[in-house]
Amino acid sequence: MMGGAFTFNHFVYLLQGMMWTVVLSALAFVLGGVAGFGVMLMRTARTRLLRQISFVFVQLVQGTPLLILLFVVYFGLGVVGIELPPLLAAGVSLMVYSSAFLGEIWRGCVESVPRTQWEASECLALTRWQTLVDVILPQAARIATPPTVGFLVQVMKSTSLASVVGFVELTRAAQVVNNSLFTPFLVFGIAGVLYFALCYPLSRWSRSLERKLNVGRRQAA
């Protein structure tokens, strides 16, 4: 049914959806970041078994569409009696998804720090953990910023998939509004602009961070 014009209330409804997109993204990123850090530690561990387990995990997750992951967590767990609310189901799926990708991105950054930095630290009697925290990670972070924020932008857009488990984020909200108004260009156009408003500052931030990190290193002390 074509139900009238786009009103301010519709816009507020879209903004609410956008807020849930942000919440879901933040959830995915914080939880995925913590788990991804664990994946990175395992992928670079000295114990072979840990490396192998994390490798299989990463391959499995990276080879599975996020949508399937969502179905497994939401419907699959439902079958065995674990009913997750849509937000949690989407959050968990995105966490697993992000942890594999972030873990792999960060592993690459950690491994791009020359091995001689590990060796020099070892010779100074620093432990592996101290070396990681004080020597390796600060150097890896510099390289990691652009791909990490790039991935964050991707995750933010991927949260739209959570609409399939009934979670009303921005995309779902736009669908709902459009179903009553049937003005797809307008409604989805606005949704698109709102996504852009979320992602563009992130990209800008990534670029400025990159620049700042480079300058910081060159500055005379």
Partner: protein, 242 residues
């Protein structure tokens, strides 16, 4: 005099390639030993075995009372007694000179932050670079970076210092400033094992020279032996260079 470093019949292989074929030598307390030899003769490997950057296949190896060949070795205790300086400096590029020097003392020995700067300054004075305490490594010349690397090692108050071709990446003029620092250190009584291609330094500063060839200690003696080599291989090495 008691030996601080004792290698006895060390064998070391990488895969199926035997790189050290029964290496034995000792270093006395306060002694400076120069290790010379062709590229690939096993000098770096021997040095790296001493602080367990490489594990050996057989032989006995004792350093400052630590049984390096033993499974139960306290690796971090060994590393506190043995300093090492590399050809490529390996300073931490994201830290200032002060932070480079004080990181390990603060983390490993629990030196309080307020004493750290004084410690850095003291170490830097020993290498003549006190004014560079707040600089970043990339603001320094190669020679200065290498001197900071030496200061960083010294700040842990090691009993033995290992130097692996520390001047090989430097221009002749920068080489001089690093060698002078090492000479001062040697005169100050530091126990040192120095892998080097600087024959003049070996002759003048080292108490003893070890010539390695094909994974073995081929010839050893006081610095003067370079003027009067006994083996054809050493004679060849001296006249043909590297």
């Amino acid at each position: 005099m008691s030996a601080v470093v004792k290698l006895h019949d060390i064998h070391k292989s990488f895969g199926s390639v035997e790189v050290l074929k029964g290496v034995s030598f000792e270093i006395e307390k306060g002694e400076v030993v120069a290790i010379i030899g062709r590229s690939g003769s096993g000098k770096s490997t021997a040095l790296r075995c001493i602080n367990r950057l490489e594990t050996i296949q057989s032989g006995t190896l004792e350093v400052c009372g630590h049984r390096v060949d033993d499974q139960s070795l306290d690796l971090r205790a060994l590393r506190q007694d043995v300093g090492m300086v590399f050809q490529s400096y390996n300073l931490f590029p994201h830290l200032t000179v002060e932070q480079n020097i004080t990181l390990a003392p603060r983390r490993v020995k629990g030196v309080p932050n307020r004493e750290a700067r004084a410690l850095a300054l003291e170490s830097l004075q020993r290498v003549g670079l006190a004014e560079k305490i707040d600089a970043y490594p990339e603001q320094l010349s190669g020679g200065q970076q290498q001197r900071v690397a030496i200061a960083r090692s010294l700040a842990m108050q090691p009993k033995v210092m290992l130097f692996d071709e520390v001047t090989s990446a430097l221009d002749p003029q920068l080489t001089g400033e690093v060698l002078r620092v090492m000479e001062t250190l040697a005169r100050g009584g530091m126990t040192m094992a120095v892998v080097t291609h600087e024959m003049a330094f070996a002759r003048r500063v080292a108490n003893r020279v070890i010539f390695m060839h094909q994974g073995k200690v081929w010839e050893t003696g006081p610095g003067d032996m370079l003027a009067d080599p006994k083996t054809a291989e050493l004679r060849d090495f001296i006249s043909n260079g590297l």
